[in-house]
């Protein structure tokens, strides 16, 4: 099956990409850059970094900017998927959806309308296991956004490792957070992974945080040889 991957540059869509390439032909990445910070569908810190991540992966990227109004952003995503169907003849779209029926059902509806498969390799997977897998596979993933108590700016820019996973599981047990940020508590950015031909190096960044909400904004980055 020829696939496109809905790619945010975070751990879930990057892991879904790794799974997809093991079993099918991935021809392009698709990214929606939402200008609406409140978007439940597409807002991700450092979304513009997907251009550099796509270069690192040596995969074509279809990138569309959307104002992020709830239904218009889906229309913009539909336009991007249509382009992938036209340009790359994709037969299915891969998502990194794990638990969110809000996101999953909207993308299912789009794919159904466009008559392509909607493929969700991580769907309903154990979130702790997914975090461990990301580390075990050698992903270099940093926390690029925190949006829930008791997370704060101390977490921003830190790399996810075994120690952090244990801390996240403890927070999950004590405060009901989703350990992998499925409820939007955490956003991540992948700087390196097995499929990356080059790795990203952050040259300049800025922490923007207030209380239990903040982002680690990558202002400048480059690709380095692995």
């Amino acid at each position: 099956m020829k696939l496109g991957v809905l790619f945010s540059g975070g751990k879930d869509s990057t892991l879904a990409l790794h799974y997809a390439i093991e079993k099918a032909e991935v021809l392009c990445l698709i990214t929606l850059i939402s200008e609406n910070k409140e978007s439940y569908m597409f807002h991700t810190p450092n979304i513009k970094l997907t251009a550099l991540q796509a270069k690192a992966l040596e995969l074509p990227l279809i990138s569309k900017v959307t104002e992020g109004k709830p239904e218009e952003e889906l229309a913009d995503l539909k336009t991007a998927i249509k382009q992938a169907i036209t340009d790359f003849k994709i037969e299915g779209l891969v998502t990194g959806a794990v638990e969110s029926v809000y996101q999953a059902s909207r993308i299912q509806q789009l794919c159904n309308f466009l008559n392509i498969w909607c493929v969700n390799p991580l769907w309903k997977s154990d979130q702790k296991q997914l975090l461990r897998e990301v580390v075990a596979k050698g992903f270099k993933t940093i926390i690029s956004g925190v949006f829930a108590y008791p997370l704060d700016k101390k977490w921003l820019g830190k790399q996810i490792d075994e120690t952090m996973i244990e801390q996240l599981i403890t927070l999950s047990n004590n405060y009901g957070l989703s350990p992998s940020g499925e409820g939007g508590e955490i956003e991540t950015t992948v700087l390196d992974a097995p499929l990356f031909k080059n790795k990203l190096e952050i040259l300049d960044s800025k922490v923007e945080a207030k209380g239990n909400s903040g982002v680690f904004r990558v202002k400048k980055a480059r690709l380095n040889k692995k």
Partner: protein
């Protein structure tokens, strides 16, 4: 031992992960389970299982609809069966029902019409289908959404079908089926 039948087309590289593994992870907390793809079922081995669950499949996947002869065993065995989405449609088709266009994608409200062991009253559930089942005469309707029939039961056998996907937001439906038999 529970048999979970993978109803996905081999064309879908992740049908097992998306539609079978979530059922397996819920079921194996209660009883030992095994999974088999429907094309690899040896019907003579079915007597080894105490319960059977037929999985759902992707929206684009309609391959089982044209392979009903592979599921004639559903009429011959006397084991409790739960069909989920494509699984329910398959049960209905084998017994002589038919499919109608009915698209529901996302969370929907379901109303219980008949007392049963799986659920009660009104509840929300995740749906993912383009077709609903008009059940054959041997089945009674247990629940409906605004648009279509959501659950059925054989009048004389322990055969159940749900059109919604209980593995997503209603895992207690699968647990109750397993615990009831």
């Amino acid at each position: 031992m529970i048999l979970i039948v993978d109803m996905n087309s081999k064309e879908n590289p992740f049908g097992f992960q998306e539609f079978v593994l979530p059922i397996l992870s819920i079921s194996e907390e209660l009883e030992k389970c095994t999974t088999k793809h429907y094309l690899e079922l040896n019907t003579t081995d079915l007597k080894d299982f105490e319960k059977i669950i037929l999985s759902g499949s992707a929206l684009m996947d309609t391959t089982t609809d044209s392979q009903m002869s592979r599921f004639n065993w559903l009429k011959k065995i006397d084991i409790p069966i739960l069909g989920i989405c494509a699984g329910m449609q398959t049960i209905g088709l084998v017994f002589g029902g038919y499919l109608e266009n009915c698209r529901e994608i996302g969370m929907i409200k379901i109303e219980t019409f008949k007392k049963n062991i799986l659920f009660s009253s009104t509840f929300q559930a995740y749906s993912l289908h383009n077709y609903s089942l008009e059940p054959p005469a041997e089945f009674e309707i247990l629940a409906k959404s605004e648009n279509c029939i959501q659950a059925i039961r054989h009048k004389d056998k322990d055969i159940y079908g749900v059109l919604f996907h209980p593995e997503v937001r209603n895992k207690e439906v699968i647990q109750k089926f397993i615990q009831a038999f």
